[in-house]
């Protein structure tokens, strides 16, 4: 009996030692990124989920790509010309670009992708809504004819997020409205799709036959060189675990770290803090279709007047380096930066707000504010604003739901008066959701429609900027939505990574020391 126990003990001890000793050496050339969660299908054309775009950007490519100043530069395109007063766009493609299945990309693939994007793509209608025809005018030439010019066309096809990623014609043909199948994740990017293990990882591997552009890499534009053999995107939902994982060397990069850790991590030598160069901004949409806020611009202005946006951002994002309470829709330094109307951005005057609300005929009816808890910042901002509005006698009733419910409810105009979301940085105003008259909020009246048409149809950037100033002024007058402020997200990386992309996590041109 005693010897049996002894043998068991020895066996157990041996096993424990073995467990410690088999510490797996990480294969050379593998980059491990901790993402915030599991992505939806990687059919980037259909979805606007960032977590899908971050992975998809390595696999799929677009005709143009945004450089570090967010200007579109050719990627799969070689050159372009615009005829017929901006109504005809002719794009010449790069030759010798291969899909991961070995087939060369031609105009037929681009045309098929464009058609699907126009019909089902998340942002496809912005350009293709006015398309009269799109056809291959040569093996490497695509001609797009529009019913009216579109001054932002290049920016609209310069990113994979809900954008015009180029897929092989035969794959587009069988997909339709449904997300393409995993076995059909075939793009032209520097990495090709390898494997998706639910809740474990998505893995991409170097595409050996990728031919980079000649120009130097800049943001998402220019040459893309794959220095790692494999990239593994690992869903790590808990932010503290993502941080410890990079500190422990289990991950090389971790996304979306919370603001309260910023100061501590900036001083930590075991990690490198990467602040994204383009801010996101919180948006509180007003219901322009139905309910108490419909057409009542005065009441909306009263609501905005009561708010102190800095306070909400301090609560939501933490240290001052991570947010900027400024009213221009586009950040300082951007071509589209404008001060038009921004004096109304954050006045925090409860007394005036109360008077204005009274003038607007407000009698204390509860205003329904739809918000989800999936994004802590949304909930924090809504809580701060609700209290500030109460001080001005404006009665807000928070309706707290989960994100999936909010996405559905906000499409039903009778369900809410205000809802909370946020917006990513966009290179052109036409990509802003509140300018889209069919987007929940439904900002649709003669004034904005006229300005929108002016912005869309002009291709002179100076004239477009002047129109944008007018739109922003109207944004503060009619308040279809309220901007909370700019928030800079940040990631952390292992100090051994070199050449990190300033536009966000993209790991071509990145190498390990």
């Amino acid at each position: 009996m005693r010897s049996r126990v002894g043998a068991l003990m020895r066996g157990a001890a041996a096993m424990i030692v073995a467990l410690f000793l088999t510490a797996q050496a990480h294969a050379a050339g593998v980059l491990r990124e901790a993402t915030i969660g599991e992505p939806p299908p990687l059919d980037v054309m259909l979805t606007t989920a960032d977590v899908a775009a971050v992975i998809g950007r390595h696999i799929f490519e677009t005709l143009y790509a945004l450089d570090s100043t967010y200007s579109p530069r050719p990627l799969l395109a070689d050159s372009d010309r615009v005829d017929d007063g901006g109504k005809t766009i002719v794009i010449t493609l790069r030759q010798g670009v291969l899909f991961h299945n070995g087939k060369e990309m031609t105009a037929a693939d681009v045309v098929a992708s464009m058609k699907r994007w126009g019909q089902f793509g998340a942002r496809g209608k912005l350009l293709m809504g006015n398309a009269v025809s799109v056809e291959a005018s040569g093996k490497y030439e695509v001609t797009l004819k529009l019913s009216a010019p579109n001054g932002a066309w290049k920016s609209l096809i310069a990113d994979v997020n809900g954008g015009l990623a180029i897929y092989p014609e035969e794959i587009v043909g069988k997909a339709g409205a449904q997300p393409i199948e995993q076995k059909d994740y075939v793009g032209t990017g520097p990495y090709k799709f390898k494997e998706w293990r639910p809740n474990r990882y998505v893995e991409v591997e170097k595409f050996d036959r990728y031919v980079p552009r000649k120009e130097e890499g800049d943001g998402f534009a220019g040459a893309r060189v794959a220095n790692f053999d494999t990239i593994r995107f690992v869903p790590v939902p808990d932010v503290a675990t993502r941080v410890s994982g990079v500190q422990a060397g289990d991950y090389d990069y971790a996304e979306m770290i919370s603001g309260d850790l910023f100061d501590e991590l900036s001083a930590d030598k075991s990690v490198h803090v990467v602040r994204n160069n383009a801010p996101i901004f919180g948006l509180f949409f007003m219901n322009s279709k139905e309910g108490i806020l419909k057409d009542n611009y005065k009441l909306r202005r009263a609501i905005q007047m009561a708010l102190d946006k800095s306070q909400a951002q301090r609560v939501a994002f933490g240290p001052k380096g991570l947010w900027d309470a400024q009213g221009s829709i586009f950040p300082k330094g951007s071509f589209w930066y404008s001060t038009a109307g921004t004096e109304a951005y954050s006045q925090h005057d409860a007394k005036k707000a109360k008077e204005l609300a009274k003038e607007a005929g407000y009698t204390g009816t509860p205003i329904r504010l739809l918000v989800s808890t999936n994004y802590q910042a949304h909930f924090d901002e809504a809580t701060v604003f609700t209290r500030q509005l109460a001080e001005a006698g404006i009665n807000v009733q928070m309706m707290v739901v989960d994100w999936a419910t909010l996405l559905k409810m906000r499409g039903q105009s009778e369900q809410w008066d205000i809802y909370v979301t946020h917006h990513g940085f966009q290179p052109d105003p036409l990509l802003l959701t509140f300018l889209n008259p069919t987007y929940p909020g439904w900002w649709d009246n003669p004034e904005i429609n006229a300005l929108r048409t002016e912005l869309t149809n002009s291709s002179d950037q100076t004239a477009r900027k002047a129109t944008w100033d007018k739109i922003q002024a109207l944004f503060y007058e009619q308040v279809p939505a309220m901007k909370v402020g700019d928030a800079y997200t940040y990631d952390i990386a292992s100090p051994k990574l070199k050449g990190l992309n300033p536009n966000g996590p993209a790991f071509w041109n990145v190498s390990a020391k």
Binding site: A18, L19, F20, L21, T22, A23, Q24, A34, G37, E38, P40, P41, L46, T47, T48, A49, F120, A122, R123, K125, G162, G176, A177, Q178, P179, E181, Q182, W196, R197, P198, N199, R200, V234, P235, V236, P237, D238, A240, T241, S244, G245, Q247, A248, G249, D250, N374, V401, D402, W403, A404, T405, L407, K408, M409, G411, T421, T433, N436, T438, Y439
Partner: protein
């Protein structure tokens, strides 16, 4: 015994059908829609309708249920909307992590809970008992996410002895990958071991007041033999049924621990699928969990007889 098992099997099947109807109805009652989550915030009503049609979600709910039930009977739980893979394989992948995690946790729970609970019962009323009961209370009250994060901080980030998170399958990386489960299993073991410890102590104290224990002592049997043969053996009946349910709960409810340690387990799978409204996965996982609970219930009932021949199964 076999007729009992058959009878119980029949009742289990009825429970299963009832559970499947309830699961299906409840999941479709939650507001929200996978289509909106899938397409994101710029989807137009046309795009939403087109995809809903293609995924068959535009059909009446009864038709959707019957179609699902018919497939489920033949072992096909459908395809995940988000993972684009058969639900059965998604669950199987998660089950490996959950089963291993629950098993290792149970080893800690038994190794910690039963001996220490026995000591506390034998020395009841002493400072040792007070100290052990106090420690158990503390272990049961500290939130698991806190314990988990501190274990990661100390053993992964500071000391570098163990991996911080994730779990690569043992079928791919060998048995050494079990080291990924050491910290999570300790995290999960803390509250559960405390529970078993207290349960062992309480049921042993109950049994020690029985007449036959007094008789055994009066006969002059050595104290530890009384504890081992007479008290612990009889107290085990209660403890074993707690083992069964603790194990089942560990399989399906370790969501917080799985989230903190980024483990691809069943708990996280089901919560994530609910948030995204991945109907086929939610239905499949809950069905599997129900089957599991029913099976464990059955096994626990049958094991009573093995532990105590006096128990009659009817």
């Amino acid at each position: 015994m076999w007729s009992y098992a058959l009878k119980r099997g029949g009742a289990t099947a009825v429970t299963l059908v009832a559970a499947s109807v309830v699961i299906f109805a409840f999941i479709h009652l939650i507001p929200g829609d996978p289509i909106y989550v899938l397409l994101g915030d710029t989807a137009t009503p046309d795009q939403v309708d087109a995809l809903r049609r293609q995924l068959g979600l535009d059909q009446p709910i009864i038709i959707q249920y019957l179609r699902w039930a018919a497939q489920a009977l033949s072992g096909d739980l459908g395809r995940s909307i988000f993972f684009q893979a058969p639900v059965v394989s998604v669950i199987a992948d998660g089950a490996e992590t959950s089963i291993l995690l629950a098993s290792i946790t149970m080893v800690w729970v038994v190794l910690i809970g039963v001996p220490i609970g026995t000591i506390a019962a034998v020395k009841h009323g002493s400072w040792l008992d007070q100290g052990l009961s106090g420690a158990a209370m503390l272990m049961a009250s500290v939130p698991t996410f806190w314990v988990g994060l501190y274990l990661i901080l100390i053993f992964a980030a500071r000391l570098g002895w163990l991996p911080s998170s994730g779990y690569p399958s043992i079928f791919e990386g060998g048995i050494g990958n079990l080291r990924y489960l050491i910290l999570p299993s300790l995290t999960l073991a803390a509250p559960n071991a405390a529970l078993i410890l207290r349960l062992t102590r309480a049921s042993m104290l109950d049994v020690s007041r029985e007449d036959y224990v007094r008789t055994a002592r009066a006969k002059g049997i050595r104290p530890w033999q009384v504890v081992r043969r007479h008290i612990l053996r009889n107290a085990l009946l209660t403890i074993v049924s707690a083992f069964g349910f603790t194990f089942a709960a560990l399989l399906s409810e370790a969501v917080v621990t799985e989230t903190v340690f980024a483990l691809p387990g069943i708990g996280r799978l089901v919560v994530q699928s609910i948030l995204r409204r991945d109907y086929p996965v939610i239905q499949g996982v809950i069905l599997v969990i129900v089957v599991l609970y029913l099976a464990i219930n059955l096994i626990v009932d049958l094991s009573y007889r093995l532990l105590d021949p006096r128990v009659e199964l009817q």
